[in-house]
């Protein structure tokens, strides 16, 4: 029982990280209609920038988080402006391939700018263990689960109530009509990329706090894929919840079936989900009319 609880808690913690990255995926999908294969790499870059800031300012939590958020926004905006905007109006295959190219470039730039060794991100919290009953939990793990929940509420409110959120939904639904209604689609795209980059960056920083920073971190993006497919590519909240589900499944599979299963549990799960509900649990079925 205690083993199960321990697996569940750590599953929730890693799942919250997947969930945040998956929300990043679906924010971009929802407003631009494309899957950003560079999401994991953007997560990794922000985490590395946060690490650089923390080593220069001595791990001041406030400075590190502000710096990381600004860096993530800039990263998202630059990518959108330099790489993605010229591809507006091109077929989806071409734009998605561009994000794959971008992913490859970002991934290899890590080894150039930083190095290939793992590092710990020390901001003075996150590594110490709190006991809830008999189960030990790291404070970083509690923080990331809380952040995911707060983010879910914030994003729900944003899309539901704010004017810009409604504009984003409009662009996603039909960008030409949205343009005719006076919404600037490029601005919406830029905002989506910046927002997605920030959400993914937060996930990266939390991952670096609770675990370690290494050039293999881009694999988080691959792990978050199942999460966003499970929740629905166009469902931002669903993706967050999908992340939690994948995290738990993965940890239970790893704990009871062996470490090999841990690696593929998420992927096996999406193949099954895609067969039953190709649009995800919370996604919207798009109807094609001929």
């Amino acid at each position: 029982m205690q083993y199960l609880m321990q697996l569940l808690i750590s599953g929730l913690a890693i799942g919250a990280i997947y969930g945040l990255i998956a929300m990043g995926f679906s924010v971009i999908y929802k407003s631009t209609g494309l899957v950003n294969f560079a999401q994991g790499e953007m997560t990794m870059i922000t985490a590395y920038i946060a690490w650089t800031i923390s080593t220069t300012v001595g791990g001041n939590l406030f400075l590190v988080s502000i710096g990381a958020i600004i860096a993530a926004i800039l990263l998202g905006l630059v990518i959108e402006r330099v790489v993605m905007r010229p591809m507006l109006g091109e077929p989806v295959f071409a734009t998605v391939m561009v994000t794959i190219g971008l992913a490859v470039i970002l991934r290899s730039s890590i080894n150039f700018i930083w190095d290939a060794y793992p590092h710990g991100l020390d901001v003075g919290f996150g590594r110490d263990i709190v006991r809830i009953g008999t189960i030990g939990v790291r404070t970083g793990q509690i923080a990331v689960i809380t952040t995911l929940l707060l983010m879910l509420v914030a994003i729900w409110a944003f899309f539901r109530y704010s004017k810009f959120g409604v504009a984003m939904r409009a662009v996603a639904a039909d960008d030409r009509t949205a343009l005719l209604m006076g919404i600037s689609a490029p601005r919406v795209h830029a905002a989506a990329w910046a927002a997605s980059s920030v959400i993914a960056g937060i996930a990266g920083v939390f991952f670096a706090i609770s675990y370690d920073l290494s050039p293999a971190m881009f694999q988080l993006g691959l792990k978050a894929f199942p999460a966003t497919i499970l929740g629905g590519l166009d469902a931002v909240l669903g993706s967050g919840i999908g992340g939690l589900l994948i995290g738990i499944t993965e940890n239970l599979a790893g704990g009871y079936l062996g470490s090999g299963m841990k690696e593929v549990a998420g992927f096996l799960m999406i193949i099954v989900v895609l067969m039953i509900r190709p649009f995800g649990i919370f996604g919207e079925r798009d109807i094609e009319r001929v």
Binding site: L34, V35, V83, P86, M87, E90, V92, F93, A94, V96, M97, V98, I100, G101, L102, A103, V104, I105, R107, S108, S109, N111, F112, L222, F225, P226, I229, L233, G258, G260, M261, E263, V264, F267, L268, I270, I271, L274, M275, P278, E288, V290
Partner: protein, 348 residues
């Protein structure tokens, strides 16, 4: 007055090559490749061999992604399956190499049915993600099935002996790869001009219209998967033999990206494009290294320390630049040049 190169009969439309001199030049190229192993040093020869093996794989992916329009991010999965099928049959169970090659084609083809079947309901991005998932699942299966695959330790592979001819030397092995590349090229060109190939292209261009015209989408999509996986598996076997060692590390995920880069750079959906793209992508890191080393020894040193990273950076950059500025790839550029050459100074 004739204003262009028009095709007037169906026969011309499906002809293997559109003008006789192409046969001559192709023959010259093949002869050059046959002589090449005796003329080149072993470093240059290794590039020829790699290009020939990669052409086989690129043509395989081209059938799925180029002709049928189904994006696959997991082709390295078929590659590694083919390599392991060959290694297990030949090295572990001492089967004849010919049976090994057959197995290297058939095993990925069967595996492709497993990944293809759930993919029938999916299009575009979702399919890309399922194939991606497949390549990770296959890696785990290989690592876990130690009794069959030796797990992470891998399997050593010998150069084969076919029909009493030993392909042990580098030159002979290049000839073997050349043979496979030529057969694959002919197969790919002939598939494209057959009924099946036209069905593939119809599915790519508009699957609803294709279905209305009586094309069985499920059957043809699965057929595209099976054919593509068969060819890719054989490329995997050749690559395994070339490395003389088959392991999961020998087939990194980057190969899937490299394969897509080849198709984009060459021009999607064209066999000639797959060949041109392969030549460019395989030689690109080497060519860049040479250009950089002209500038300074320091840059040369940077290349030798960060070779792997620079290589993947180049792939990424080339993908982005081609999609942005020449989406039809080298084949498109070639068509433009040819047209300008014929029509100059008129525009069309």
């Amino acid at each position: 007055m004739r204003t262009g190169d028009y095709k007037q009969t169906y026969g011309e439309l499906v002809a293997l090559v559109d003008s006789p001199p192409v046969w001559l030049w192709s023959a010259v190229l093949v002869l050059a490749l046959i002589v090449a192993p005796y003329a080149l040093n072993s470093y240059a020869l290794s590039f020829v061999t790699i290009i020939l093996i990669t052409v086989v794989g690129a043509l395989g992916l081209n059938i799925l992604t180029g002709y049928t329009g189904l994006i696959s991010l997991g082709h390295v999965g078929f590659l590694v399956t083919g390599a392991y099928a060959y290694a297990i049959l030949v090295s572990k169970y001492q089967m004849p190499p010919l049976a090994g090659f057959l197995g290297a084609g058939l095993v990925p083809a069967i595996a492709s049915l497993i990944v293809g079947a759930p993919s029938l309901r999916l299009k575009g991005l979702y399919l890309a993600i399922t194939t991606l998932a497949f390549s990770f699942i296959i890696n785990t299966v290989i690592l876990e099935a130690r009794w069959l695959t030796n797990g992470a330790r891998g399997i050593a592979v010998q150069r084969p002996e076919l029909f009493g001819i030993s392909f042990d030397s580098d030159a002979a092995f290049t000839h073997l790869c050349l043979g496979f590349a030529l057969v694959t090229l002919f197969a790919a060109l002939n598939i494209r001009r057959s009924r099946v190939g036209r069905a593939f292209v119809a599915i790519r261009d508009n699957d609803t219209a294709a279905r209305v015209m009586g094309i069985n989408l499920h059957a043809y999509k699965l057929l595209a998967f099976v054919t593509s996986a068969f060819i890719t598996g054989i490329a995997g076997a050749l690559y395994g033999i070339y490395l003389s060692f088959v392991s999961v590390e020998g087939f990194p995920f980057l190969l899937s990206i490299e394969a897509l880069a080849i198709l984009i750079v060459g021009g999607l959906g064209s066999a000639l494009g797959a060949v041109l793209g392969t030549v460019l992508i395989v030689l690109l890191p080497e060519a860049t290294r040479m250009i950089f080393s002209l500038f300074s020894a320091q840059m040369d040193a940077m290349f030798s320390t960060g070779a792997q990273e620079l290589k993947s950076m180049l792939y990424g950059l080339v993908i982005i630049l081609f999609l942005r500025f020449q989406p039809r790839g080298l084949v498109g550029a070639w068509h433009d040049i040819r047209r300008t050459w014929v029509h100059w100074p008129l525009r069309y």
